[in-house]
């Protein structure tokens, strides 16, 4: 058994530049087990770079990425990472798309499809197994991408503005849906957004980042009880936190 006190992800004093472009100056953050933590910051402040570093695609110049207490600088394959674009392969059906991570782990095509198929109802994709991505709506494609992410590593997920490309109504639907399935997923989630409402609604904790080069301006817990619903958006606590963030930004 792993030590339970150790956080799932711990990032300490990350610094990253690309040539003369100083993207991240000093960022530290902690994600505890089964927590939903949002990172909020202006566009282009290096949020995605931060995820590239945590997922191991990029190496930090300075600093450490610890996943369950082990150093993961520049090592991919531990956490799953979902981008703003759904990045579904247009030539594959939905079932083939979402089973890619299972096949990469060495499962046979048939086994991985059987395993993936079980999650289709939960992700609202039942009946669309053999459709191509182009036949699905934006929300469904994002859910398929999320399912693929989940099937790769369901314990730790990095979600980079997963609903950023959706319109306001679909976005709200997806937030409610995600909140609804979170208790079944049992995942620790790091979530990037620049939508303050979204961050407060979904998170246990929020990190506010500054403009580039990014530093953590502040972080605070979101003490709004669960389950949350549409009413949460107009509650007193919600607005208190929102006011706090708006004055800080």
């Amino acid at each position: 058994m792993k030590d339970k006190i150790k956080p799932v992800i711990e990032v300490t004093n990350i610094k990253k530049s690309f040539g003369d472009l100083h993207t991240i100056k000093d960022v530290s953050l902690i994600l505890e087990k089964n927590q939903f933590v949002s990172i909020v910051g202006p566009s282009g402040c290096g949020k995605s770079t931060l995820f590239d570093i945590i997922s191991g695609l990029e190496k930090p110049d300075i600093g450490k990425v610890l996943i369950e207490g082990e150093i993961y600088n520049g090592k991919t394959g531990r956490v799953s990472y979902m981008h703003q674009k759904d990045l579904l392969l247009p030539w594959n059906t939905i079932i083939n798309n979402v089973s890619i991570p299972l096949m990469l782990k060495g499962l046979k095509k048939r086994e991985s499809q059987i395993k993936a198929r079980k999650y289709f109802p939960l992700f609202g994709l039942e009946g669309f197994e053999n459709h191509f991505p182009a036949q699905l709506s934006g929300g469904m494609r994002q859910r398929a991408a999320l399912l693929r992410t989940y099937l790769f590593a369901n314990d730790i997920m990095l979600l980079d503005e997963p609903f950023g490309s959706l319109d306001a109504i679909n976005k709200r639907k997806m937030q409610l849906w995600l909140l609804g399935i979170l208790k079944d997923l049992k995942s620790s989630i790091l979530f990037i957004t620049h939508d303050i409402d979204e961050a407060i609604f979904l998170s246990d904790k929020i990190y506010l980042l500054s403009e580039r080069p990014a530093v953590v301006k502040t972080s605070f817990n979101v003490d709004i009880g669960r389950p949350r619903s549409n009413r949460t958006f107009t509650s007193v606590e919600f607005n208190k936190i929102k006011r706090k963030i708006l004055t800080l930004l």
């Binding site: 590239d52 392969l89 594959n92 609202g124």
Partner: protein
């Protein structure tokens, strides 16, 4: 609306060709032009039927050279594109050479090939390879190079190795380009084999045509041209069928779009 469009897409060009042939027929039939200069379409058709055996036999030879050259060039192209894409330095070294091969006029190379490789099938096959190799390789390379970088990153973050990345992302995403390259190659391939035969050979449509030309049997030359044209179009259509079968996702239209 769609049906009307489809019909006009077929009917209009056919109608235009029929009119052209009718004009041609009446000019040749009027006696203004000698048959050995421009034979009438009916005479060409007659000649095609009368010489069917000779033309057919030579066609098989040409088809063999074309198919062999075409298949070999597809294989070479895939290997070349793979190596050039995965090793950057090889791409830098080979790219100028690749373009250089296309700047040399085939009509001058063809006689040289006969000096080097004789009068057999080999020089013809090499000419077909030379013609087909370039469009296929370039389109495949282009396809590999324009794969969505984020898609590659996603696969890498999932721990995919090089072979898996090619299999899952690079090859499928390069397929549309690959097929357009193959289509260009296919339309030129029969012509390439014919040029090879034309400059020197024992049999094949090119040889048949040069013999017919030397005896002023212009009708036979035209008959052979018809065969080459029809075969080239046929070849192209087969490839389009394969393309449709292997890339069903290209055909998916927005009509089948599902809303929640």
């Amino acid at each position: 609306m769609k049906k009307i469009k489809k019909i006009s897409n077929i009917i209009l060009p056919v109608f235009f060709i029929v009119i052209l042939i009718a004009i041609w027929e009446s000019v040749s039939g009027s006696g203004l032009v000698q048959p050995f200069i421009l034979p009438a379409p009916t005479l060409i058709l007659y000649s095609l039927i009368m010489n069917f055996k000779a033309i057919g036999g030579n066609t098989l030879i040409t088809l063999f050279e074309t198919a062999a050259g075409f298949l070999i060039s597809v294989i070479i192209s895939i290997i070349a594109a793979l190596v050039m894409d995965s090793i950057a330095i090889v791409k830098k070294i080979l790219n100028p050479l690749l373009i250089a091969t296309q700047t040399i006029p085939i009509i001058i190379l063809a006689p040289l090939f006969i000096i080097w490789f004789g009068y057999g099938y080999l020089p013809k096959i090499i000419i077909v390879i030379l013609i087909c190799f370039f469009p296929i390789t370039v389109s495949l390379l282009q396809g590999f190079a324009t794969v969505d970088k984020e898609l590659l990153n996603l696969l890498k973050s999932m721990g995919a190795n090089r072979t898996q990345i090619y299999k899952i992302v690079k090859f499928p995403s390069a397929m549309p380009g690959f097929f357009s390259g193959i289509k260009i190659a296919a339309t030129y391939s029969i012509m390439g084999a014919t040029i090879g035969e034309w400059v020197g050979g024992k049999n094949g449509l090119g040889v048949y045509m040069i013999r017919a030309k030397q005896s002023f049997s212009t009708d036979k030359v035209f008959a052979a041209i018809i065969v080459i044209t029809v075969l080239s179009i046929f070849f192209l259509k087969i490839i389009e069928l394969i393309e449709k079968k292997y890339m069903p996702w290209i055909q998916i239209s927005k009509e089948e779009y599902y809303e929640e």
